[in-house]
């Protein structure tokens, strides 16, 4: 399959007055089109740094990143980024929050407005289009944030622990919900998480990073023998425990 994203020997370090903190060391991997990749690792190991690099918010110190075979700057590939918090703006209605990316990219038209409305409808937010974000539940807010990202029709979706701010029950339902949506839309997605069961229930492959400076330790392909491959069915499948334990061991046995 065509690979949409390539990381080649990427190094990155943070600089402060106190000194240099190496965050990523010699990371190489590629992600195929339509694949769902989860990245797990000890907290503070530089998982989010990876996403910021892909998004072009920061520039690697050495190595290169290709999206659709081209370098990042001036790349027509559209990237969607979901942050840990929804960051819906209280001074905008839900509908206008969803339009934010379109406004910024000068893509507002009747067609895109229509699309935004349709997405809100299909993710159960149609009745709340004119509400303020604070009138929505945590799960609904996260779904609205997803619509804000999806309305831009991204080729690749970066998810930076987008469910970690939710309470456990909402987290399960919204996680499964959003995972299902992404699968149906056949989006390439990269999920950063510290929740192993979330990674196993959603991903096609799970990358395990080491402690800082993070290196890519292993890559675990996750396959389930299921007729309906939904996150919920995965959680109930016998292989689930196996994958969970495998990742747990990988994370906890540093050589």
């Amino acid at each position: 399959m065509e690979s949409i994203l390539e990381f080649n020997h990427i190094n990155y370090a943070y600089h402060t007055l106190e000194g240099e903190t190496k965050a990523l060391s010699d990371i190489t991997f590629s992600v195929a089109n339509g694949e769902f990749v989860a990245i797990v690792g000890p907290s503070g190991c530089g998982k989010s740094t990876l996403l910021s690099l892909i998004c072009g918010l920061i520039v690697p110190e050495s190595g290169w990143i290709h999206l659709n075979g081209k370098p990042l700057n001036d790349n027509p590939t559209s990237i969607g980024y979901m942050l840990q918090h929804d960051h819906l703006f209280e001074w905008r209605t839900v509908y206008h929050n969803v339009l934010l990316g379109l406004e910024i990219q000068h893509k507002l038209s009747n067609k895109t407005r229509q699309k935004a409305k349709k997405l809100l409808e299909s993710y159960g937010l149609g009745a709340f289009a004119d509400s303020r974000p604070s009138q929505l539940s945590g799960g609904m807010r996260q779904r609205a944030a997803l619509v804000r990202t999806l309305v831009l029709d991204p080729d690749i979706l970066l998810l930076d622990e987008p469910f970690s701010a939710l309470d456990y029950q909402t987290r399960l339902t919204v996680g499964d919900d959003i995972g299902q949506i992404l699968r149906n839309e056949k989006k390439t997605a990269i999920l950063v998480t510290h929740d192993l069961s979330e990674a196993v229930s959603l991903a096609d492959r799970v990358f395990v990073l080491t402690k800082r400076p993070a290196t890519l330790k292993t890559c675990v392909p996750v396959t389930f023998n299921l007729t309906a491959d939904t996150p919920m069915n995965r959680r109930n499948a016998p292989e689930f425990k196996h994958y969970f334990n495998l990742l747990w061991k990988e994370l906890n046995h540093d050589e």
């Binding site: 980024y81 942050l83 840990q84 918090h85 960051h87 001074w91 934010l100 990219q105 604070s134 831009l152």
Partner: protein, 274 residues
């Protein structure tokens, strides 16, 4: 909800609340009325020297006389005009300068000590200088009004701009927006409450500056009236001017309070949750 569904406990609570509000308002009015009556009584009985301390009835009579010949409206109008103009300029210049500082970190770090010094300088010291530079005219008074509020306004607006959640700005960048979008989509809209509370402070400060200016460089206005009447010992004019200034300050403040209420009403959901 109909009245019948309110429980007795709820009714008691509402009654207590109403009684509390009544007492607060009653005492407020009573203090003012008591003070005025005491003043009037002691002046009438010559317990205090009514030549120096004047009395409420003479202040009211003086006000009525000046409304008849219309001269009081000129003075009120002049002061009000100067205050509103300097307030509008402070608000505009303050926001623009804070935006510029926000746009360039270098610029803000370079200018920071100058702003701090100018802000802590007693502005009344500048007024004589302004007269020499600009002349004894209305421009001087308006600039004097601005000088009191402008530096503090820039500093506090800039601070509120910089305390905007970095993650919200990151969101703009992830949506492929630039610094300009961060400003117009996040920083300015989220700073509106700070801008309004800054305006509340500024309107009072501008009035202070305008009065200082009028003390030194005016032929009309309430500040001029205060200085003039103190020189010719017309205590009723002086005290009336001060009362009018109180009312004007209250009115201007209430106007901005109304603006704030309007904003909160429009975005009231903000204050229901979280």
């Amino acid at each position: 909800m109909s009245k019948s569904t309110v429980s007795t406990a709820q009714q008691n609570y509402l009654n207590r609340l109403r009684a509390h509000r009544f007492i607060v308002w009653f005492l407020r009015v009573a203090i003012l009325a008591g003070f005025l009556l005491l003043w009037e009584y002691t002046a009438a009985k010559d317990i205090i020297d009514s030549f120096i301390f004047c009395c409420p009835s003479r202040i009211a009579k003086c006000f009525l006389e000046m409304t008849k010949d219309g001269s009081i409206f000129l003075h009120i109008g002049v002061t009000l005009y100067e205050t509103v103009i300097s307030f509008a300029l402070v608000t505009l210049v303050g926001i623009l300068a804070a935006v510029l500082l926000w746009c360039s970190r270098k610029c803000s770090e370079v200018l920071d000590p100058y702003l701090v010094v100018l802000n802590s300088l007693p502005k009344s010291a500048l007024a004589p200088l302004l007269i020499v530079w600009l002349g004894a005219n209305r421009a001087t008074i308006i600039v004097a009004g601005m000088s009191v509020a402008i530096f503090g306004s820039i500093l506090s607006l800039y601070t509120s701009f910089t305390t905007v959640d970095e993650e919200k700005i990151k969101l703009i960048y992830t949506l492929r927006g630039g610094r300009f979008h961060a400003l117009t989509k996040v920083v300015l809209p989220s700073s509106i409450p700070a801008i309004i509370s800054n305006m509340k402070v500024n309107i009072g400060l501008c009035l202070v500056g305008v009065i200082i200016g009028e003390f030194l460089a005016a032929r009309s206005g309430l500040g001029y009236l205060i200085i003039y009447s103190s020189q010719v010992f017309k205590m009723d004019w002086l005290l009336m001017s001060i009362v009018l200034l109180c009312i004007m300050a209250m009115g201007l403040y209430a106007l901005i309070g109304g603006l704030e209420k309007l904003y909160l009403k429009k975005y009231s959901a903000n204050y229901v949750n979280e």
